[in-house]
């Protein structure tokens, strides 16, 4: 990753939800600071209620921060013109249930001031991209299954070919196939040089596609860093390969021992992000306020 421009800049962001009378109810986010660079896929990770969605909404100007500041594409969150280059997939696809797929995309296309021809072309392309079955495209969204709604949700997020895509729990409600498609799509976006900010509580998603992650717990940033670095145990080396024959394994073990390696184990890899996640949550419960940030550039 090159030292390129910062797309999202969050400084000391806090959000307190208030009740009707203005009394503080929940502190959903506490002094969050982070930067996201152009072209990276950033994952916000955390258990339910940890403040991921809140962060996204603050970035988009749907909520107003209690403290702190946000710069997104160099503009303030309240500035609507930033939306020209942003695509947003809400947590649940909050779309207009009385429209069908074409009408939905046409509507959002109009909001970007796209011409009829542009809208038509773009809609077809996106619907193919998200693999929405052609026969269901003319049905009203209220008849859609969760997975189908999710797909049309992604399509509307990409209608403007955005530079920055924010995905809130992109894979929730998708079957394993859909899950795969979604990850491919994100990688594809990355390949096109787009910046992606996604949040999820599903570790597998994040692990596969994200360059960097941050783990939130109780509205606080607990861990942040490059996925590979975070998972790299400093005093261990892991060798992975396609399945080897018995003889080959033996040979390797000998080679390693010759180089003085101890505790040599040869077996299948485990999902170690899960370990990290659980460890972080566990630690946060035991030692509130502790932070493990490997990514030295982003903390001020």
């Amino acid at each position: 990753m090159s030292q390129s421009e910062t797309v999202i800049e969050i400084r000391n962001l806090s959000k307190v939800y208030r009740d009707f009378w203005g009394r503080p109810k929940v502190r959903a986010l506490n002094a969050l600071s982070l930067d996201i660079k152009k072209g990276e896929v950033f994952g916000l990770l955390g258990p339910n209620g940890s403040g991921k969605t809140t962060t996204l909404k603050l970035l988009l100007g749907l909520l107003f921060p209690t403290e702190g500041e946000v710069k997104i594409l160099g503009k303030s969150a309240a500035d609507v013109s930033k939306n020209e280059r942003i695509g947003y997939l809400p947590e649940e696809s909050y779309l207009y249930r009385f429209l069908n797929a074409y009408e939905t995309l046409d509507f959002y296309g109009r909001l970007f001031d796209m011409t009829a021809a542009q809208r038509k072309e773009r809609s077809e392309k996106l619907l193919d991209l998200v693999k929405l079955a052609p026969q269901s495209r003319r049905r009203q969204l209220k008849e859609y299954s969760k997975g189908m709604t999710r797909r049309i949700g992604v399509a509307q997020a990409l209608i403007n070919d955005p530079d920055l895509v924010m995905l809130d729990e992109p894979t929730s409600g998708l079957d394993p196939l859909g899950n795969r498609d979604m990850k491919d799509l994100i990688l594809d976006l990355k390949a096109q040089g787009k910046t992606v900010l996604m949040c999820s509580h599903l570790l597998a998603d994040v692990q596969d596609v994200c360059d960097r992650i941050a783990i939130l717990y109780g509205g606080e940033l607990k861990v942040m860093g490059r996925v590979d670095e975070l998972l790299k145990a400093q005093d261990e080396t892991q060798i992975r390969s396609s399945k080897l024959s018995e003889a080959a394994e033996k040979e390797i073990q000998e080679v390693l021992q010759r180089h003085g390696a101890t505790n040599v184990k040869v077996d299948q890899p485990t999902a170690s992000l899960e370990d990290l996640f659980l460890k972080t949550v566990q630690e946060s419960r035991e030692r509130p306020g502790h932070r493990n940030v490997t990514d030295n550039q982003s903390v001020s």
């Binding site: 009740d19 203005g22 749907l62 909520l63 909050y94 109009r110 909001l111 001031d113």
Partner: protein
């Protein structure tokens, strides 16, 4: 028959000034309250946020896109249709199927029966379109927020003011669609309901009213009004027969255009008769009309004409009249240099009285087609719907749907003629029995409105509270539209054309006066709120 058209025009300068003051005050109050609110929630940085927001708002206003507004309009429209707003036609259909129930006899059609038909149609239409529009405009945005579908819109380049505008236009279009369909059906219904031989009762008369009426008493002295014959209703004032008593009208700008195609001047009246004794009941009371030109000392008197009470009576005066063998031309010889025509009416029968008001005598110009007036009345309803839409949408950006609906309905209700007048009376202290608390006290204690309150210092507090409320009412009175201007249906059901100057123009002005404040208020409210339902 009774009909009292508006007497006054909106004075353009005063109205605009008034508008500026009211809108200015409102803007100030709104801005002030939100600034205080921001400071309260965000401390000192609130001030910065406030001015940033203000700047953002202003720049947004210059970046409106018709295509986006149209997209939101279409969305609103589609939503309404797909959510079955058009089910109102079922109610409409039912009402018209059973309209006979409310009408009584349909066999005998009298002129004022026609009036009942027309006002039935127009009232039904306005009371059916009203709830449709009210519900759509008050529940649209809150529902959008509750379902969070608005999140996908505001995270697009759509400005929040565009959302407000799109909603307003979309709902108004729906309202107009419903209105148009109902109006067409209603039109056919009226025409079908009235038998072929009575079709001529569907009139669209074009009256030119006198600008003033003056009275002369029985001794020949100028009087403020005629005689009151003991009616509760003081609309008409009576002149005594066979005395010098008479009523004098002044018509302005009299020229060729007021004459009919044959060059005659047509006066129509709806005088009422009052007998101090019955006498020969088979003989009607008589009046005559005199045209006078005080400058030339010229007068022309018609033959005695019978009073045709509660109906229209048409008196035609030929352009060329003969007085003592000399021929005169009405326009040339009777219209003064200031283009005024003076007309006097007196009663002929001794000890009998004829009652009249300013609008009881007018020059009747050639009639228009009935449908012209009818559709102008529909325009009046459309403007009312627009007004309600604007108020409703902007209310719904601040409060939840049901509250917005109640609020909007109350505003509409208060804007109705009688209620607005009552509000005026309250504000100007013309209502007996005191303000809110005092009236409640009187009600509970069974005290009449004119009874003295007991000497108790508590009433100082009560009166002060009422005074505060009354001042609030004063503010409301200025903000709440006066729907008297939107009374086009009243003209049409009375068989008149809708006048441009005293009805259409003022209602257009009132409506447009609401556009800017409503849109801005809705925009502002939508912008300063977090789009989470509470």
């Amino acid at each position: 028959m009774y009909f009292d058209p508006n007497e006054y025009l909106l004075n353009p300068i005063i109205s605009v000034l008034n508008w500026v003051v009211v809108v200015g005050c409102l803007t100030f109050v709104v801005l002030f309250v939100s600034m205080v609110n921001l400071i309260a929630t965000r401390g000192a940085s609130g001030v910065g946020v406030f001015f940033d927001e203000l700047g953002g708002m202003v720049t947004d206003l210059f970046q409106l896109s018709p295509r986006r507004i149209w997209a939101l309009t279409r969305l609103t429209y589609t939503e309404a249709i797909r959510r079955k707003a058009l089910a109102v036609f079922v109610v409409f259909g039912l009402l018209f199927m059973f309209a006979g129930w409310f009408m009584g006899d349909t066999k005998e059609i009298k002129p004022d029966q026609v009036k009942v038909y027309i006002s039935f149609v127009l009232t039904t239409i306005s009371w059916l379109t009203l709830p449709v529009v009210l519900i759509l405009c008050c529940f649209g945005i809150p529902e959008d927020i509750r379902l969070r579908s608005i999140h996908t819109v505001v995270t697009k380049p759509a400005r929040r003011v565009e959302i407000v505008l799109g909603r307003m236009i979309g709902i108004w279009l729906i309202g107009c669609l419903v209105l148009a369909v109902m109006a067409i059906v209603g039109h056919f219904w009226i025409v079908r309901q009235i038998p072929a031989e009575s079709q001529s009762l569907l009139t669209c008369r074009v009256p030119v009213y006198g600008t003033r009426i003056d009275f002369v008493d029985r001794e020949g002295n100028a009087a403020k009004s005629g005689v009151n014959v003991g009616d509760i209703w003081v609309f008409r004032s009576y002149i005594e027969g066979a005395t010098k008593a008479r009523a004098q009208w002044t018509f302005r700008n009299v020229g060729e255009s007021l004459l009919d195609s044959d060059g005659n001047l047509n006066f129509e009246n709806s005088f009422s008769a009052f007998r101090s004794y019955k006498g020969d009941m088979t003989r009607p009371l008589f009046y005559d009309i005199r045209l006078i030109n005080p400058e030339k000392n010229l007068a022309y008197t018609t033959d005695p004409q019978p009073v045709n009470e509660f109906r229209h009576k048409l008196d035609t005066i030929p352009r060329k009249v003969t007085i003592d063998g000399t021929q005169y031309d009405i326009l040339k010889d009777f219209v003064t240099d200031r283009k005024e025509l003076h007309v006097e009416v007196s009663c002929i029968d001794r000890e009998q009285y004829i009652g009249m008001a300013r609008s009881d005598l007018f020059i009747r110009m050639p009639d228009r087609q009935f449908w012209m007036g009818y559709w102008k009345a529909i325009l009046g309803i459309a403007l009312t719907l627009l007004l309600i839409t604007m108020i409703g949408v902007s209310a719904s950006t601040m409060v939840k749907g049901p509250i917005a609906a109640v609020l909007t309905f109350v505003i509409y209700f208060l804007s109705l003629k009688d209620n607005h007048q009552f509000m005026d009376q309250l504000v100007f202290g013309q209502v007996q029995g005191g303000g809110f608390l005092e009236s409640v006290y009187r009600l509970v204690m069974h005290m009449g409105p004119s009874q003295e309150l007991p000497a108790n210092p508590a009433f100082v507090v009560v009166k002060f509270f009422d005074w505060v409320l009354n001042n609030f009412l004063w503010l409301c009175r200025h903000v709440i539209p006066y729907s008297q201007y939107f009374n086009m249906p009243e003209f049409v059901s009375n068989g008149f054309d809708v006048p441009w100057d005293t009805s259409i123009l003022p209602s257009l002005l009132v409506t447009s006066a609401f556009i800017i404040p409503c849109v801005l208020m809705g925009y502002f409210a939508l912008r300063i709120r977090e789009l989470e339902s509470k």
